[in-house]
Symmetry: C2
Subunit: 476 residues, 2 copies
């Protein structure tokens, strides 16, 4: 059974200028969560959403989250909680997005003013937040409006949760989600998050897995203060020497993790999974383009996608406490902190992984025979997430993609983390779907962030169509 | 033959309050060469010296050095060139010092205002520049004044060269020294620099050697821009992984340099040198105290002093381009630059050492089999310096120490570099002596920099006595 969507689709096209105008209004509010001075703009953005949602007839609450931890003079921006519809005969879908953005300055290298939406002739709509995540957030509002104006009944009850601190660690959000699990979110039958991207530029995807991330620090210290290498070089054991020797044992150039008990935890590749990669729309050229070089570990698509999605990786991010500026400084740093992280996958366990890391780093340091002191610990850990792509939530989204884009979506995972995904799954116990609107070239955190007009307008249709298929697929 | 010094010494004691007052006036001028905004104060300090020297009857020139390289709006502070006496029957001694200072703010942790000389009850005279190097510079002026007031004939002709950029790389000085070698400095029979410190706090020393310093960068790059470790971890070869693996091969925890052809260049220890260390006033406790820990490489004095003075050392200073701040950031840096330096000693050759480093680093990188790119180069190189401690210049200073302090000085080297030492030696072809005034606890570049009143007043006597012994020792 196929839902009647033509009226809704036609209305989206008819309202496209208005929808782009709505996005322009949102982009014009520089809601940069990382910048203390912009906090009033973040709050202004919450009020903008509240106003738009109320005009559409939704019930809206701005939920305060208290003071920002570590900055007690600063209020966290509120979470916008909204409900549209409360028909007991309909399914209820909970959607999440965020209304804050990354910092941006014209002088960073933008071709246009970052907080002024610029619609180029080729359809690129440039502006900070256009694709991350104001476009997708407004997608839900636009879908409601198009239904109203087309006179089409909205197919589900919609719960909305839009936060204003996503780009700065989602401070306070987890507690709110857990607290509302059996209250505001109690009716949710499934969750949909539109805050990621297609794997490429042509083919839509549905995302069912994310890697976790355990972030480690290795501190090594000895001298009471930084030393002059002329005076002390050759007479003191140097923490920096010890640290590079420990870091050098973690992973090799080809990405092979040297720590025992990591790869041993990784789930076997099933026959079903094995067959999944070949059809995925992804080429090594695309990877090399986004990498900006040909320094890939693998030469082929399949091992590359598997390495990104379903195998762990270890990256060394940097060293705190050593000389990091341009030029030359002849310092012997007294205390250095190496930072590295492991991207985790099924069935890796956080505690088992931590213990393996601690044991190995301690062994490597012990081998040096150093008089310096060493401490290794996890700064933060986050579990991997994998959903069932056979759930009706995914089936509905797949049909919506076929209807709007005329192709079957790729079922993908991502190498990064979207921690809120796991929080929603754990809090609600429901299936979570990641349904991206933008494409791989949108440059979410970069200069010249954009959302293609086509992805925005067809994306609005996709979100609406998804809800219609949910209503059919999910009929009890 | 012993010179008559009692009258001069008594006059120094009589004038001590005035001499401390002169130091207070100099400390009150915040002549911070690194701070552009303080440049007028640096120039003011040059004029202060000019005025004092003229009042003593010296011929003085403020020699301009042109614009500061890289900061074309900024004039370099002038070099103060002065001559006191031009008796053809006397020896001529060229002395060097600097009138600029390191930055200092009360808020850095100073117990007193850094630019207000504070004479504590225990004799410590706290103030930025007190020991480095305003005290020693004024020492020469005070010695002249005490001779005049005591009615004692000044024993030598004195050439003075006081610069205002020592704490910021001595910009422009080398060119001036080379240009004046056969002009203003032509008459010099020997050189004396008072800009270093005793090895400890009780026993004076004369310094006859310094290590050189070759500073290297290893650049490794691959991706076109910094990457997200979630998206690219496991699929791209990471420059940071390669860099720590290369840096880990340079030196071990016990200071042993792993690069071939470095230790092979080091001069053998002679029997004479072998016997020199035992009598030197230095304890491992002093080292541990200045180190702030017990993380020394050696447990005994002799190998420690040899490691500081006469063997090369390799220190890894830091990494540019990687994540260096507190906290966690999941970046894969696109380009990283490792910085390390080798302290060099006789008979190491700069080119031979550079070639050995380049060859070794290239070999180590090649072993990784990485697709990333690597470049290794020297940021700057500086030769070691060793003078003959048997020269009459040192003999005169040794006798002066015995006369003033009642002990034979230690003959020491230093692990660091004072590049101007080598420049003076090369430009004039004369023996250069390092004759320190302050002690090891003065904290030249630290908070609460001080010069002990005793070291200042006895130091004035020492500088004067040295000139008298020079007149006797050096009589042709």
């Amino acid at each position: 059974m196929a839902p009647q969507l033509d009226g809704f689709f036609a209305e989206v096209d008819a309202l496209s200028t208005q929808f782009i105008d709505r996005l322009a209004k949102a982009v014009a509010i520089p809601s940069i969560s990382a910048d203390e001075a912009r906090r009033p703009d973040v709050v202004r953005m919450a009020h903008f959403l509240e106003g738009e949602l109320k005009a559409l007839g939704a019930q809206v609450e701005l939920r305060p989250l208290g003071k920002q931890p570590g900055k007690e003079h600063l209020d966290l921006p509120p979470v916008v909680l909204a409900r549209y519809g409360s028909d007991k005969n309909k399914r209820t879908i909970l959607v999440y997005g965020h209304y804050d953005v990354q910092p941006a300055e014209r002088s960073d290298g933008w071709d246009t003013e970052p907080f002024q939406l610029h619609v180029a002739d080729d359809g690129r709509m440039l502006g900070r937040g256009s694709t991350d995540d104001k476009g997708p957030v407004l997608g839900w509002l636009n879908a409601i409006e198009a239904h109203q104006k087309a006179g089409v009944e909205f197919p589900v009850n919609l719960l909305m949760c839009f936060e204003g601190m996503e780009e700065y660690g989602s401070e306070g959000l987890d507690d709110l989600i857990m607290a509302e699990a059996k209250k505001f979110f109690a009716d949710a039958d499934a969750v949909c998050i539109s805050d990621n991207y297609w794997l490429g530029t042509e083919k839509p995807c549905l995302t069912y897995g994310l890697r976790g991330c355990n972030y480690y620090s290795v501190e090594i210290w000895g001298p009471g203060a930084d030393l002059h290498s002329g005076v002390f070089g050759g007479t003191a054991q140097e923490p920096m020497t010890d640290l590079v020797r420990v870091l050098a044992t973690l992973v090799d150039t080809h990405g092979k993790i040297q720590i025992p008990s990591i790869m041993e935890q990784v789930a076997q590749v099933s026959a079903e999974e094995e067959g999944l990669y070949d059809s995925i729309s992804f080429t090594m050229d695309t990877l090399r383009e986004s990498l900006g070089s040909s320094t890939t570990i693998f030469e082929d698509k399949k091992p590359t996608l598997m390495a990104r999605w379903r195998y762990p990786s270890l990256s060394i991010h940097g060293i705190e406490g050593a000389f990091a500026a341009p030029g030359a400084k002849t310092v012997i740093p007294a205390k250095v902190v190496g930072k590295f992280s492991i991207r985790t996958v099924p069935d890796m366990d956080i505690d088992t992984t931590n213990e393996a890391v601690y044991r190995y780093v301690k062994e490597q340091f012990a081998k040096l025979g150093s008089k310096n002191s060493m401490k290794v610990y996890a700064q933060h850990t986050g579990k991997w997430w994998v959903a069932s792509p056979n759930h009706w939530n995914f089936a509905a989204a797949a049909k919506a993609v076929e209807r709007v884009w005329g192709v079957q979506p790729d079922f993908t995972r991502e190498g990064g983390s979207i921690p809120v995904t796991l929080t929603f799954e754990q809090a609600t116990g429901k299936n979570v779907l990641l349904l991206p609107m933008g494409s791989s070239t949108d440059g979410a955190h970069s200069i010249n962030e954009k959302l293609d007009k086509r992805n925005y307008i067809e994306g609005i249709k996709l979100l609406g169509a998804y809800l219609h298929y949910v209503a059919i697929e999910a009929t009890p």
